[in-house]
Symmetry: C2
Subunit: 230 residues, 2 copies
């Protein structure tokens, strides 16, 4: 609350900046799924040493934004149906706990409200990335408001992969962003009313919708079972 806390932000170190840059490129789909990311390539593109690039890839691997096994090149993963279900199951687990906790105190996080405003503002525009950004910010604010460092840390990992899938096949295109905004509003309202049950139901419905859009898009791309990878 003291207005002096001196946020030391801004990627202080080189590794941090590198990590953030590569991370953004992956989640925004600039690096296609299946694409290989060798340490040498990263080192060359950014003019850093290979150990630095290595550390970066290892961090991204730990977050699930890259897959790699020993002595093999890291690749950007393409989540299949099973993994998307797993992702959304985990996501629902974390966010359910968050909204329930918030509803018990009736505390509507201001940051979430702000993210909602940003989302509605970007709804009409063609700025697709901004919509995704606002959506992520909304859910992130929800969890952050609980005040649990560990819950936020878990959620951050989950949201990273969510962001990845949204960036890859841009599922939001297939739906009206205002629908999403309204579902968000419902969640906030239930929280403000101090109704944990309804808040969880609204959230579950919202995530179910999102997962459905993702799976629909996936099936549209791969009409028959699984093939067509490389």
């Amino acid at each position: 609350m003291d207005g002096q806390t001196s946020f030391p932000l801004g990627p202080s170190s080189l590794t941090e900046a590198l990590y953030e840059s590569v991370r953004k490129r992956i989640v925004n789909g600039e690096i296609a799924p299946g694409e290989k990311l060798t340490e040498i390539r990263i080192a060359g593109e950014y003019s850093v040493a290979r150990p630095t690039a290595k550390a970066c890839l290892e961090r991204l691997t730990a977050l699930g934004l890259l897959r790699r096994t020993t002595h093999k090149t890291a690749v950007v993963p393409k989540l299949d149906e099973e993994e998307i279900r797993d992702l959304y199951f985990s996501r629902e687990t974390v966010e359910r706990a968050a909204v329930a906790a918030l509803a018990r105190t009736g505390n509507v996080p201001p940051a979430a409200v702000r993210a909602q405003a940003a989302m509605k503002a970007a709804a009409g525009d063609a700025a697709f990335a901004d919509q995704v950004e606002a959506d992520i910010a909304f859910h992130s604010a929800l969890v952050a408001a609980v005040g649990s460092r560990r819950l936020s840390r878990m959620h951050e990992v989950i949201l990273g992969e969510v962001h990845l899938t949204m960036g890859q096949f841009q599922a939001h295109r297939t739906t009206n962003p205002m629908n999403v905004a309204h579902e968000h509003d419902d969640i906030l309202k239930a929280i403000g009313d101090g109704d944990p049950e309804r808040a969880q139901q609204c959230l579950a419905h919202h995530l179910d919708q999102a997962q459905g859009r993702l799976l629909g898009q996936l099936r549209r791309e791969n009409p028959r079972s699984e093939e067509a990878s490389a």
Copy 2:
């Protein structure tokens, strides 16, 4: 059980072996909380290069088993009351989802049953570390049986910190391990009966007991508010 399968396991790489060794030393309390772990020390103790030790410390930091900020040496954290509450809140979130999912299918994980047997076997002995090991294995098996890779990943991080606190002030000493075993049995029974509600209640009670023991021990060590760190 056939004597030939020759599980090729065991840390394939040097980094892996190093990481596992240091990890064990931390969670077992061999490295006291507050103790400093410099890269050079690790490199010297294990006769590895500093970059290798560095990678090891970074992994442990990411898991919450070490704390460090830029240009400062890593230290083993000592969790205060607030952090223990946060830890157990997160833990309950994950494990609630797990037991509920298991109860819905009525699927009692065999690995959890085995861990229970191991726990009861070690109950009488002075083998405290074995009891902790079995306890961890039980909860780990519960979550693993859900089959969600991401849920297990989150849980692994949480359990790492739980293991850390249990190793530090050995809270189990203050209670009868059979009580813990009985609480575990209650959870398994509720799962077998296909009763998600009761399974969650039993789990919540079990975790509450464990957290209570931890906090009691903490208050006993620090009778007055917070001080006495270094």
